[in-house]
Symmetry: C3
Subunit: 262 residues, 3 copies
């Protein structure tokens, strides 16, 4: 029988003991769990970035994988823990929108996690990742059904950071979702929503910078030239061949990106 | 039979091959080992920070877990390798105080690691993590008893960085143990040693900054206000709601923190 | 039967989803794989640094280990994917020299990876790590023979960044391969090629700095003094006791290092 897979996505970083501590709790409940880190470098408290990361990663994992996502600025307040079934997998997270880019595209069922028998007791005020989310995820990996954790809810949070808004006849206002390790600027414009950019001509504006070239692979353009490319995730990215587009432009996740199509 | 769990805590960082190399050695000796990283981002040579990290993490792991802790500024000198039994678990480390915050609170038995049959030969002058500590930990995970590694010793190092010192009738001098990823400033004042701070009133001084408010969760205070909170570890931390207290104050691990109780 | 071991070395960093995504693909093909990260912090596009890292790590892993090495500035161009058998292990990488420091020292057989049945379809233009290299490595870990992946080739890339060049009767011109976490400056001068430095006397020059002392362990010299030491890898490193030699000198990977022997 294959080992249950459990992924982790957090803003805890790797210099503290928090991630290791959650893994100790998980192995105590589900010793067979195969744990895979997606990233622990989500910018602190940046829910949209966490939402983006898990949405890029989940579909590459086998059925029944349990995804634990803890970006949780509201820990200690009344925000609720939830478990979602979607795409044949499970997702455990706070109800703050961090799963929104998955439930925007997949049929899903969401439940509150309310059964305290699945919590690690006593529950601290400051570390629900260890005391609520990790135990719930580990029990799912060990075979508990989501129905054991709590009741289905419909009033979960529905944020809207995953699509650009139409702002004129030929213009859309979007945003930067993420700067990747290579300095590529990942926007929330999905290539499939804008299929004929190249034929029609376009301008993507980020601050004072204008990008008007669409490339098909990273090595296609000359050194230093900014271009748009459909990244491996399907979203358009602003890139520079063998350089950092984010440094060239000087921008961060969350900033505005405006598209005009001719 | 569940897999043996082996955790790793080092100051090797993640950009070099050192951690991967140790894991290769471990899997060569104990192929079933389930390895969990606590952190490899201990500040270089900072024994107190490593001591703090493993002391926060170990109790969340199942019985028989082997904890490998390599923060080892004295590699190549005569400092000794040790193995400790405590809390139903095993700890392998240099005898330089890096296990002190565990043996301060747990019944323990400490042995030298002297049986060279458990070393990886030849032993280098510069990488005992790979040649002595990792093999010893892997052999424990594979079922060797600590007694096979060497004899019990009583003269292991006893540093004293884990408790504040009383410096006056109403004052204690402590220190900053760790700045966490979110900029929370973790002190060596344990909440259980100061149970009535809120009722009596207090001031925590770090450099020119004075903190006089105790909060019960991170979201309780207004943005930008410094407050004290009992962190998930039980120690008091200086924090700011959704911000970095360490950046506000401008301090580092090792700096002084003085408490006055009214 | 022991689990197949699969190591990963990339320049993807840990803040993105790329590494986690590759691991999801690997577990989908080979659920029993034991994955070990060597490093994902190779400087972006720095083939020599990746070559250095895998060459330091591979020999510490058990036979049959599969090493996946993705430092791939040419993704999307015509550079070819290859699989190498060497030292009783397997290596999967782009044909850009990133395996050169392994095949410089081991008997080896190199094949193209051309059998598209082992690719993840559709193959993207921008992420061959996920669509070609990870699946090929996972199929090897699951038991496929290298011969299934493609034909033996002899015209693989042979770069020459792994040895200093003789530049005079008593001088050699080399380079800095890597700055490690502690600021040690790792050169491409192998200690076994220069066995009598200490007896004859020498000067290692990096920029305006001259190092003329050879130490046998890190704690031997006074604080602040630069010295040469044969590191755990066998190559000479420039170091400072409990400090960063790279910060003292102000140098980076790729810079020149000149040795004069008297």
């Amino acid at each position: 029988m294959p080992k249950p897979i459990l992924t982790l996505t957090t803003d805890f970083g790797l210099s503290d003991h928090y991630v290791g501590t959650m893994k100790g709790v998980i192995l105590g409940i589900c010793p067979r769990a195969e744990m895979v880190d997606i990233s622990h470098q989500v910018s602190p408290f940046e829910i949209a970035e966490g939402a983006w990361l898990i949405a890029q990663a989940y579909s590459w994992f086998p059925p029944k994988t349990v995804h634990l996502v803890v970006v949780d600025p509201g820990v200690g307040t009344s925000r609720r823990p939830i478990v979602m079934e979607a795409a044949g997998q499970y997702f455990v997270a706070p109800d703050n929108g961090v799963l929104a880019m998955v439930y925007a595209r997949e049929k899903h069922k969401i439940r509150l996690i309310s059964n305290e028998r699945y919590f690690r007791q006593p529950v601290s005020q400051t570390f629900h990742g260890r005391d609520i989310f990790a135990p719930a995820a580990a029990h799912l990996a060990a075979g508990a059904t989501p129905a054991r954790l709590g009741k289905v809810v419909e009033d979960y949070l529905r944020p809207s950071f995953d699509k650009p808004q139409r702002s004129g006849k030929r213009t859309w206002s979007g945003r930067i979702l993420k700067i990747d390790r290579f300095g590529n600027i990942i926007t929330n414009f999905h290539a499939s929503d804008f299929p004929d950019l190249e034929r029609r001509g376009f301008t993507m504006a980020i601050g004072p910078h204008q990008i008007g070239t669409l490339a098909h692979h990273y090595a296609e353009s000359g050194p230093g030239e900014l271009f748009l490319i459909a990244g491996s995730s399907g979203y358009f990215e602003v890139s520079v061949n063998q350089g950092s587009a984010a440094k060239r432009i000087g921008c961060e996740a969350g900033a505005a990106a405006e598209l005009t199509v001719w």
